[in-house]
Symmetry: C2
Subunit: 253 residues, 2 copies
DNA sequence: CGGCACGTGCGACATTGTCGCACGCAGGCC
DNA sequence: GGCCTGCGTGCGACAATGTCGCACGTGCCG
């Protein structure tokens, strides 16, 4: 707790306060925080007031007690950056492409769109565009729907949802139902919702706490990815889910 | 960005820095942070140095760039406190007890132990102890193993693992395998690992981002919870998982 | 109804964070 | 290969800023 020269005292203290609040599942009173850290009441109060102002702690209006705020949760989500995710996923993405025979994309959610951070071509043929860096609509792709399903910050983008094909889900309610289904079974499907004739199957990549930080998926012709009843082929689903799980394991270090 | 009187300036600035780093998936240089916030280079550097010291940001040793640190992720986990979780779970816990015919416990991980925050008696008979507030070992109970499986902070407690029955898993490696299996299927079983003759089935409660903040489970005689091959009865598993999912939905607000 | 303890706010002091400047190093361009 | 630009880092002085003591008001318990 002592002061390390060259470090900003008030930030060190804020960190101690946050750790204290995080360690205790109950809300804490100003006095308790002050005593635990050996600070004067006013100082602790001043720090808590500021932390509340920036959204890192919340105060119960009735009991006046403080607890960790929701703002911190959103910040942690970005703990893994896209590059790190990409690095860990490289081998597994290649394996998935080889096993499934389809092209593979790895994406993260950014500003309500899917940012493709990695792209592996379909093994057999050649004429394909490199999609790395491209942004895809979230509500019309398998990758995007998986990311939306587990997104901490409010679901879909604020504006209206564009229709890309006649199968694109643009209404709020059906989309919410679909996202719930994805959460329930752990993977997502998009069949001709983005481009006619194309389908995708995707699954979430999680970090240690179970937080979803990205998604990996395959894309290809509808007839190869789905059966005659437009259901995803179980063998492919299993491959995608297995790849996502492997990457999740890699990320946890 | 401007200074609000009564607020601690350096903490406001730290918050801005963290938000900036969180918003950008790439690592940022000192100069970029300084320019974005309109601060002198030295000031930004001083703040970043302190944030790194407390573990809120990390610096790549090679490129000298900064990104959000892993310490923040752990803090967000405690965003939901035990009381709030309990409040949201009350009705679903009762329903689960009624449908399954077994007693129900709701727990959170605290200091490497399971803290029971809610307890519903078995519907039929009466002579039972109220377990609310009790702490259970994490590695020997279904609730605990589920919580460990999704725990952000390093798995089991540091010390040796106690054996309560001859079925208690005390070795690191088998336990890690078991936790991986729980992550894969989404629920956990403990059969006579804590008390002879007793078994438990539990599933995780997740918050918006998919972060596990607690677990709910049923407990009862082995012969009622498992079949002749010591496998959990699918009907009961389904009920527990459904309850956990319902509570997870409640928590996301 | 009285007393205590807590959250909150204000103001003065001096401690502390801020800012300007300079060093050393790495990368890129010529 | 050498020069030069631009960056990260560290130091020091100033004064702006955070800290602390004190006092008010309120809610709770006895």
């Amino acid at each position: 707790m002592s002061h390390v020269p060259g470090m900003i005292q008030s930030i060190e203290r804020s960190s101690a306060v946050l750790r204290l609040l995080a360690a205790d599942p109950d809300r804490l009173r100003v006095k308790e925080v002050a005593d635990a850290l050996g600070l004067p009441k006013s100082t602790a109060h001043s720090i808590l007031r500021t932390l509340e102002h920036v959204g890192f702690v919340e105060q119960d209006p009735r009991t006046a007690r403080y607890r960790i705020g929701r703002g911190l949760l959103d910040l942690g989500t970005a703990g893994i950056d896209a590059n790190e995710l990409r690095g860990r996923a490289l081998n597994w993405a290649d394996t998935l492409a080889a096993r499934s025979g389809e092209e593979v994309r790895l994406g993260v959610l950014r500003d309500g769109l899917v940012l493709v951070v990695h792209h592996v071509f379909r093994p057999d043929d050649s004429a394909q565009d490199l999609d790395t860096g491209v942004r895809l609509p979230a509500h019309a792709t398998a990758l995007g729907k998986v990311l939306l399903a587990y997104s901490a910050t409010a679901a879909a983008p604020a504006g209206g949802l564009d229709a890309y094909t006649r199968r694109t889900v643009t209404a709020r309610e059906p989309l919410a139902v679909e996202l719930a289904a994805i959460r329930a079974r752990g993977w997502g499907l998009s069949a001709e919702e983005w481009r006619p004739g194309l389908a995708g199957i995707a699954a979430p990549v999680r970090t240690s706490g179970g937080l979803v930080v990205g998604a990996i998926g395959i894309a290809g012709p509808v007839e190869r990815l789905t059966d005659t009843r437009r259901q995803a082929r179980p063998a492919l689903v299993e491959q995608v889910v297995a790849a996502a799980r492997s990457i999740s394991r890699e990320v946890q270090s």
